[in-house]
Symmetry: C2
Subunit: 411 residues, 2 copies
Amino acid sequence: MSKTNILIAQGGGPTAVINESLVGAVLESRGFDNTGSVYGAFHGVSGIVNEDFINLGLESTENLENVAKTPCSALGSTRDKPDQKYCQDIFKVLKAHDIGTFFYIGGNDSSDTLRILAEEAVGADYPLRCIHIPKTIDNDLTVNDHTPGYPSAAKFVASAFAGVNLDNRALQGVYVGVVMGRHAGFLTAAAALGRKYDDDGPHLIYLPERNFSMDTLIRDVKATQDKFGRCVIAVSEGIHDDSGAPIVTKLAKDVEKDAHGNIQLSGTGALADLLCDAIREGTGQKRVRGDTFGYLQRSFMGCVSDVDQMESRAVGVEAARFAHDGAQGVKRDGTVTIQRTGSGDSYAVEYKLSKLEDVAGKTKVMADEFIADSNCDITGAFVDYLKPLLGSGMPEPYRLEAERVGKILDR
Amino acid sequence: MSKTNILIAQGGGPTAVINESLVGAVLESRGFDNTGSVYGAFHGVSGIVNEDFINLGLESTENLENVAKTPCSALGSTRDKPDQKYCQDIFKVLKAHDIGTFFYIGGNDSSDTLRILAEEAVGADYPLRCIHIPKTIDNDLTVNDHTPGYPSAAKFVASAFAGVNLDNRALQGVYVGVVMGRHAGFLTAAAALGRKYDDDGPHLIYLPERNFSMDTLIRDVKATQDKFGRCVIAVSEGIHDDSGAPIVTKLAKDVEKDAHGNIQLSGTGALADLLCDAIREGTGQKRVRGDTFGYLQRSFMGCVSDVDQMESRAVGVEAARFAHDGAQGVKRDGTVTIQRTGSGDSYAVEYKLSKLEDVAGKTKVMADEFIADSNCDITGAFVDYLKPLLGSGMPEPYRLEAERVGKILDR
């Protein structure tokens, strides 16, 4: 029986559970008789062209299990988007190391990289099996019910808003929290899962699925202030006006773009500061505070969904099985996708191998049924969708409940 | 035996464990025979003048225990700083409700409020026992070895830097994390406890105890980039130039001040953005990202030090005991302070009643022995100081360790 050498790499933004997928694919692959070497490439496709490999066949299972519980791509990542020349360089290296299966753990940009690579391999008549393993905190991959990495980031965002809501209740005013998410509002919407009592924030949620206007924001904040005496707002970094222009570009002098043509939205507090200034000016409210959750959302140690952990491991394991099954018969490229088969208390999923071109470079956004008619809140259907993904151990706030004491003094 | 009515309130910025102190003082006070009513004032001293009280004698122990585990002042807080007129209004209310003991949970501004109130009470010949219960994430109260609330915020900051260090290692560049702390760098310094491996960030730590210069920053970042190919920086929001002017005021158009005269530093991403721009310009590095940790540091649900939880409960309990002991004999105002009596594995503390004027309005900063000679790092002595406070369950990162694969291709 001929042995298949395997290469695995990680691309795009890290998640808190991305190494579960790495370790799942490595351990499962190592268990098959026809597996030869199992290599990891450092920093995604850039590590392939640089022939920068680690021999994952030599890692102890104990250390792999420790790495699985460590956030952020253990192999390192990249934002490179290979063109044809880049792919030819990749092939040279893959051929030299006799790689038969390539697993790439990533989001929609990484799956597009894999699609190009798979096409190039066919064109070059090189027998390469390309399997995409999904991850993204944005939850924006098509075909998938949800994406590994999202539930843990969502748990962080929900926990953070549960906390800042309490902070804002203690020292009242307006609070703006800016959450990651370029085109899809799933992560921003997760802020709603931090609510427990009727008057809990976030009171306003602005998603990139709807056009944003400063006038509407000011009107919404005033109405919330009148009702609750305070206002907590969750905003996606990707909010844009009705022409599609991101609100943050109204302030930024220079717009930074990555190799995929995406405008850089994270790593700056500009949007929160812009919105706070507008609220101060538009409402007369003095205490207006803005935070940008930034990189903590995808890398925080110690706030992980156990459901996400389990599923992230599973997509890695399934990728190895799909590749192995393929090796027995027809060559099949593809992407592992998550399908929900039960909801609520009967929450369950199954894993399928879908076509790369159905996911690659495509973006899923929130369905209309998840967004309230007010355009500044989410629906119960979204709560039902997200709740089982957060897993066990969501912290729950409590309030003092006793009666007020009667006033004695006349005023 | 005459009964003593008790009032308790919370002032200043919330912490993740401040309600442990509230519940400790309430439950312990309720257990004494001579305790009459136990009231809570909403939003600190402002709730007293507004006679806005809750009857904490009616809260179930079960709900109080749930509230104890909930972050952020359950009674609400205030930034009000009472003058003489304000204090006279407070006295009217305290007299009307026959309050004999007032517990105020807060930081150095709140302890100063209590000092003024205690003096006014003496001047007005009103028999009021004033006990200050310490809390502050800044850890800047004099006399205390450390302050309740600080260890949990420190655990959040250390965990956050452990995560962003991994993120920065996966996608290399420069990362700036801005941490709360006006005059004292304790919380920023906690970032160092997120390090495990020799090349882990934060590689540079800038504290308000030392003068800050942009030229030095650029030089330090370049040197770190040359050494590690990346750079993670922890910066206190309170960094200032050699004239004492906060760096953030170099950018801000309007400077916001609170009733205590403090310039508003938090709730804006301006400092991180200013530093990122300077690093981009000064080093030529393209990928420079900045986060401001903001209100998550003091309110995050699910990242709490169990040592801090226990001690925060204890200072509330001890306050009630000191007040009760005082009731048996001499009237004693004061502030509960934490003294360390054992270090390392033998870590232990004891609680004392210290004089209000020794803590009120004063600020402790980091000792020279905690700051490295380089002025951009902390010492082993600081690690030894902080480590036992973080308690159990600090997450630990792991790395892949196997050998690199030999390169085959000639270049």
